[in-house]
């Protein structure tokens, strides 16, 4: 009697373990992320902690991201530069937990590009790299503010109450000018948002229970190719190479549909364009070969896989299910070869997806902005509404 009771208990426990193991596994990752976040927050002073914490539904802070240097568009939160080494280490540990290794590498390379930009400026200039940009007052420059255009009455837009930094290159560029902030309290159950960003980077990661949402996220780089410790670094190189391979794999009639006849000078749904859906154009993935479809998903993975594996997996399943309604559009030259950045714009768009890759007109192959969105789920609104 007692024996059989024990047996049944053992079976029941086993069954429950099996049933919940998937759940527990997912929960573990969220718990790890929350743990890392709490550890980071614990290193902060009360004042710093207050500075990085916002309400979950703070619309202004949600939208306070940009491709621009932080000197121009101040972000919320505190920067790596303002942290002690211990705090910085905890911040990086948090990023390493919430991001995949690939995602962390991408973020680091984007930051390194900013270091390179700070050190070398643009390499297109006459006479090669011209040292760090000077920070002093300008000569009497043409196009400068005409007399009488002193700035009237205080900063507009409420951007820089905390004092707008002066514009020396030290305070404009560099891998330490990236800011971290939290909307809502890190939790394994109630939703919260982790933001990390600066020049050419804006990660908006919504965590709701076991699910993670990376949209909207902006990545970018200038220089988009540089060398560091003797190695060539291309922070968004695979985004360029994979898309080029796809467009070059298209046959004539596919290409005719995919390649648009007009120029696209910038991101259509860049910062500030949350939740908007535009009529898709280009080539529908349903008319692609299975191999081309796989290539398309491979491009998308460069964005979805920035997030850690567990959160990214569900997202890829959703995008794969949408594949028939997904479009690929290209604007610009289709020649070129893997290893050097494209100068063309491309867009991948589906019911739950917008990806745009937009080379910038000042240095098309060496300066790029990208955006990754889910118009139905920017900041996890689709999840948290339920």
């Amino acid at each position: 009697m007692i024996n059989s009771f024990h047996r049944w208990t053992a079976i029941a426990v086993l069954a429950l373990t099996v049933v919940f193991s998937g759940f527990v596994q997912a929960q573990t990752t969220t718990a790890e992320v929350v743990n890392a976040a709490d550890k980071f927050l614990a290193t902060l002073s009360a004042e710093q902690r207050q500075k990085v914490s916002y309400a979950f539904d703070d619309e202004q802070q949600r939208a306070r991201w940009s491709n621009l240097p932080t000197g121009f568009v101040p972000r919320g939160g505190i920067s790596l530069k303002q942290m002690t080494p211990v705090q910085r280490e905890a911040a990086i540990k948090l990023l390493a937990t919430v991001l995949s290794p690939m995602g962390l590498q991408k973020v680091n390379e984007i930051r390194e590009a900013d270091d390179d930009f700070k050190a070398n400026g643009s390499r297109r200039g006459p006479g090669g790299p011209g040292g760090p940009p000077p920070g002093g007052p300008p000569p009497n420059a043409q196009g400068g503010p005409p007399p009488g255009f002193g700035r009237p009455g205080g900063p507009g837009g409420g951007a820089g109450q905390g004092g707008r930094p002066s514009f020396s290159s030290d305070e404009m560029f560099g891998s330490n000018l990236y800011y971290i902030s939290f909307l809502g309290k890190p939790s394994t159950t109630t939703p919260w948002i982790l933001q990390f960003g600066g020049h050419h980077l804006a990660l908006n990661i919504t965590i709701a229970g076991s699910r993670g949402v990376l949209t909207p996220t902006l990545t970018g780089a200038q220089p988009a190719t540089f060398s560091l410790d003797g190695k060539t670094v291309r922070p968004l190189g695979r985004e360029s190479d994979k898309a080029l391979a796809l467009v070059q794999s298209l046959n004539d009639s596919q290409r005719k549909q995919a390649v648009l006849n007009y120029q696209i000078p910038d991101l259509v749904l860049g910062p500030g364009q949350d939740g908007k859906k535009i009529v898709p154009e280009g080539l529908k993935a349903s008319t692609m070969t299975p191999q081309q479809q796989a290539m398309l998903l491979g491009i998308v993975a460069e964005w979805t896989d920035i997030l850690n594996e567990n959160a990214a997996a569900g997202r890829m399943a959703q995008i794969t299910a949408d594949l028939k309604e997904t479009w690929f559009a290209w604007s610009g030259p289709t020649d070129g070869k893997a290893g050097s950045n494209i100068t063309a714009y491309y867009r991948i768009q589906g019911p739950h997806l917008v990806i745009e890759y937009a080379p910038q007109h000042d240095e098309p192959a060496n300066h790029v902005h990208t955006i990754y969105r889910d118009p139905t789920n920017d900041y996890g609104t689709g999840l948290t509404r339920q």
Binding site: G136, P145, Q263, H367
Partner: protein
């Protein structure tokens, strides 16, 4: 401090021309998102002046140069931007209205970061199922780069069929369908009759060909401008015939007929080229309303002429004269596109070539049938039916355009035009049949000498 930031930025730019980061430098970006609803259009424009054009843009806004952008100056500039945009729905001008606008601080603008936001709306007249909306933007004082996109309509009765743009995106055109209950039945019939409904029609089978946008537009204009085509076709109807005693009599020899048709088409071309060029170069300017009325009248004249020869042997002159009027209407189309002055000469040329190409295609499609059938008795039936139809359509258009009425003329003519390919094919088969069935004696009847003489006199 912002002004200082801008100044530093400009210094950086001057020291190293390639040194630039993250935002616009010497361009003025105009990004538009259009939102379409069943009876209205909303446009939201973001204008972002690059740091090097910012001062110039600010100077355009600050009209009195006092260093302050007053609410009046904001409103005036928003209106100026709106005036640079012309919108047509199905070829008719759509009035736009400013809804709201906001301007960044001068400091932000100097930094090249300011976004001017302008929202406008436009009422779209209802009626009809298929629509073409065209949004064309003229340059402001500064060099603009454009983005223009349409948001996915929330209203499910609107279906976007296709979008077209010129390479700069300053001219944007969208075809859409408005599915209301009333049109649903009509739609079923059409698709049943025509197979896949958007694979027919003279326009569509040419759509695969990529031309200069203006060439393309010229072709579309003549293909969709059913009134222009109807005029030309009606004028061609009696071309293979000889007028005797104020009645249409026997046919001309094939060669004379061909020459006469060629003469008519050429004369029409010369006529509309003259006025199109003059109007596009701003030498003449005629309001479009009376022109539209005159075009309807021109069809009526050629229809009456096809029934009873009122101006026998002078078809080429009629074509040339009314060509002058049709040219003015073409110019209005070109004008709505906001083609800049320096682009005009090339523009007129390609637009005109587009019109010519489409005309030639239509004539080539109809000519064999006319020549074949004119050798049979059935031709007078075709002539009378065709001219009668043209006369009724022309009367309808004249009334519509004179008294601003809404008559179903466009729907009727467009319904036919949509099946142009089938009609042309059917006509050809019919003319073959008539030719085979008609008695031999009738076939040999000729008035060779007279016809040659008369053909010679009609050439311009």
């Amino acid at each position: 401090m912002r002004a200082r930031g801008a100044a530093v930025l400009i210094a950086l730019l001057l020291l190293s021309p390639g040194l630039a980061f993250a935002h616009r430098i010497d361009e003025y970006l105009q990004a538009t998102l259009l939102t379409l609803e069943p009876h209205s259009l909303q446009g939201s424009i973001r204008l972002v002046p690059g740091v090097l054009v910012a001062s110039d843009v600010i100077a355009s806004i600050d009209a009195n140069g006092d260093g302050v952008i007053s609410p009046e100056e904001q409103c005036a500039y928003a209106q100026q931007v709106l005036n640079s945009i012309s919108i047509t729905l199905d070829g008719r001008v759509v009035e736009t209205k400013l809804v709201s606008w906001s301007f960044p601080s001068l400091g932000q603008m100097h930094d090249g970061l300011g976004e001017i936001k302008i929202n406008y709306s436009a009422a779209l007249s209802d009626g009809g199922r298929d629509h073409v909306l065209l949004v064309a933007t003229h340059n402001l004082r500064q060099k603009l780069v454009y983005l223009i996109n349409l948001t996915v309509p929330e209203d499910r009765s609107l279906e976007i069929l296709s979008q077209r743009r010129n390479p700069e995106q300053s001219v944007y055109e969208v075809d859409y369908e408005e599915k209301t209950a009333a049109y649903e039945v009509d739609y079923e019939e059409k698709t049943a009759a025509a197979g896949a409904h958007d694979t027919t029609g003279a326009v569509v089978w040419l759509e695969g060909i990529q031309f200069s946008p203006l060439f393309h537009l010229g072709m579309r204009h003549i293909a969709e401008g059913t009134d222009h085509l109807l005029f030309l076709l009606t004028l061609l109807l009696p071309a293979p015939l000889l007028a005797i005693n104020h009645r249409w009599g026997p046919r001309l020899a094939a060669r004379s007929s061909m020459l006469r048709i060629l003469g008519i088409v050429t004369a029409f071309t010369i006529g509309h080229s003259i006025t199109l060029t003059l109007a596009a170069m701003n030498v003449i300017h005629v309001p479009s309303h009376p022109i539209e009325v005159l075009i309807a009248v021109s069809i009526l004249v050629s229809a009456v002429h096809a029934l009873w020869p009122i101006l026998p042997g002078r078809e080429a002159w009629i074509a040339a004269f009314f060509g002058l009027i049709h040219g003015l209407a073409f110019a209005a189309t070109l004008d709505r596109l906001g083609v800049g002055h320096w682009e005009r000469v090339a523009g007129i040329l390609s637009f005109n070539l587009g019109i010519e190409a489409m005309q030639m295609i239509v004539v080539a499609a109809i000519l064999p049938s006319l020549l074949l059938m004119s050798r049979t008795r059935a031709y007078s039936a075709l002539r009378i039916v065709g001219a009668g139809f043209a006369a009724i359509a022309a009367l309808g258009w004249t009334l519509e355009r004179l008294f601003d009425l809404q008559l179903p003329v466009d729907d009727l003519v467009n319904a036919l035009a949509r099946h142009a390919l089938w009609i042309a094919t059917g006509l050809f088969l019919l003319s073959l049949l008539c030719r085979v069935l008609s008695p031999v004696s009738q076939r040999i009847q000729r008035v060779e000498v007279l016809s040659e003489l008369s053909a010679a006199s009609t050439l311009p």
